[in-house]
């Protein structure tokens, strides 16, 4: 099922559990109930404000359901994700298989992810009316493990083609960068949940090797989906909405529900992330050879809105 993304972005909020619901209250002289969401319907909870308080009961209820609880800093960057320790009944078996995976396998899988990312980036450029040939040309050149680091070369061309030569992708900057941060935060939470649910360990990555990053596998697997966020950010930017606001957030969260093309037909991004994580676990277990990646091409609804303009 496709869940709901819940974000708490205002100070003075208190969150707790009553029966099967998460209840949000406003803290003040008098506690006022703002709303409640069934726990089973939540796909991710994003805590994006300073003065929040939550009960331990709530955190336990989220962890039991494998719902990621994302903590954000002032610039909307995620600084931590709380996830459950037992997400899948086969978890121990799958962890073992994941750790035993050989170098050739992880290198081959990383090359597949880079190819998929470059293809999606090319689709995004095409939709934005920019030349996509520089990226399409790189796809065929990706070798096992991406030793030429075509991913970075692609990114360099990509950002200037999408947002112009002056644009610099920097997490600490505001404007377009801050909306990108926000979109990636939501995407990262979704992929983290998929990874845990597939019984994989988020820290044991394929390519990302920063020793301070606890979510290396999540960062590996989210690569092919980033361009979907990028295109939505581009769309917002072009319509003069270059800052993080309730409206832009709502728009970006919707990108998780856009349909992408897969071998099994059109499926929302959120479901694609789950399929990818599950297929990775199966590759590790030797049950299949290749990853279940989205096909090149745009999310359908988005392509349709662009056509109409």
């Amino acid at each position: 099922m496709i869940g709901r993304i819940v974000e708490v972005a205002d100070d003075r909020r208190h969150l707790f559990v009553t029966r099967g619901f998460m209840v949000v209250q406003e803290q003040g002289s008098e506690r006022k109930e703002l709303g409640q969401v069934p726990l089973d319907d939540i796909a991710a909870l994003i805590a994006n404000a300073h003065g929040l308080s939550y009960t331990n009961n709530l955190l336990v209820a989220l962890a039991e359901r494998g719902i990621p609880f994302v903590l954000c800093a002032a610039n909307h960057n995620p600084v931590g994700i709380l996830l459950s320790t037992g997400g899948n009944y086969q978890q121990a078996k799958r962890f073992d298989a994941q750790i035993r995976a050989t170098r050739p396998t992880t290198k081959r899988l990383w090359a597949d992810l880079v190819r998929a990312k470059l293809q999606q980036q090319a689709s995004t450029l095409e939709a934005a009316g920019a030349p996509s040939a520089p990226l399409t040309a790189l796809v065929a050149k990706v070798r096992s493990g991406d030793p030429d680091n075509l991913e970075a070369q692609g990114a360099r061309r990509y950002w200037s083609l999408l947002f112009g030569d002056q644009f610099r992708r920097d997490r600490a900057l505001g404007g377009v960068n801050s909306i990108l941060n926000y979109g990636y935060t939501v995407l990262r939470a979704a992929v983290a949940r998929a990874v845990i649910a597939a019984g994989l360990h988020p820290t044991v990555g394929l390519h990302h090797s920063n020793e301070f990053n606890a979510m290396r596998l999540v960062d590996d697997l989210m690569e092919p989906f980033r361009p979907v966020i990028d295109l939505n950010v581009w769309h917002l930017h072009r319509n003069g909405k270059g800052e993080v606001s309730p409206e832009t957030k709502r728009y970006l969260v919707r990108s998780l529900y856009d349909d992408m093309q897969t071998n099994a037909g059109a499926t929302p991004v959120l479901v694609c992330t789950q399929k990818l994580a599950t297929s990775l676990a199966q590759v590790f277990l030797g049950e299949r050879k290749t990853l279940d990646l989205p096909l090149a091409g745009l999310p359908l609804a988005l392509a349709a809105t662009l056509d109409n303009e």
Binding site: M1, R4, I5, V8, A9, R250
Partner: protein, 101 residues
């Protein structure tokens, strides 16, 4: 899609009242919201989910009661006319994929 559970349960004996309270609490645990004292509603995103919740409710039915499970569409839900006292309430809204508090 919406699912509505309506029930009349016997509450004469102590054991019956306990069973009725348990049934009500289970509905709340499943994410059904109270619309009226014996009417509970839940939003579902697909037919498959409607079936799942229908089966879950079935598995916790108390003895000797009468329970109806009704399904209706988002449009029909939005067309519900609600009065509280004499005042007419604003139309219901189906939840969004993104909740901002």
């Amino acid at each position: 899609m919406w699912v509505m559970v309506m029930f009349d349960l016997p509450v004469v004996g102590k054991a019956e009242r306990k069973a009725a309270a348990e049934f009500r609490n289970t509905l709340l645990d499943l994410g059904f919201e109270m619309a009226q004292f014996s009417v509970y509603m839940r939003f579902c995103s697909s037919h498959m989910q409607v079936d799942t919740y229908g089966k879950r409710v079935e598995s916790v039915l108390p003895e000797g009661g009468r329970v109806n499970i009704i399904q209706f569409t988002d449009k029909q839900y939005e067309r519900i006319i609600t009065f509280r006292g004499r005042a007419k309430q604003a139309a219901n809204k189906t939840p969004d994929q993104f909740d901002l508090f």
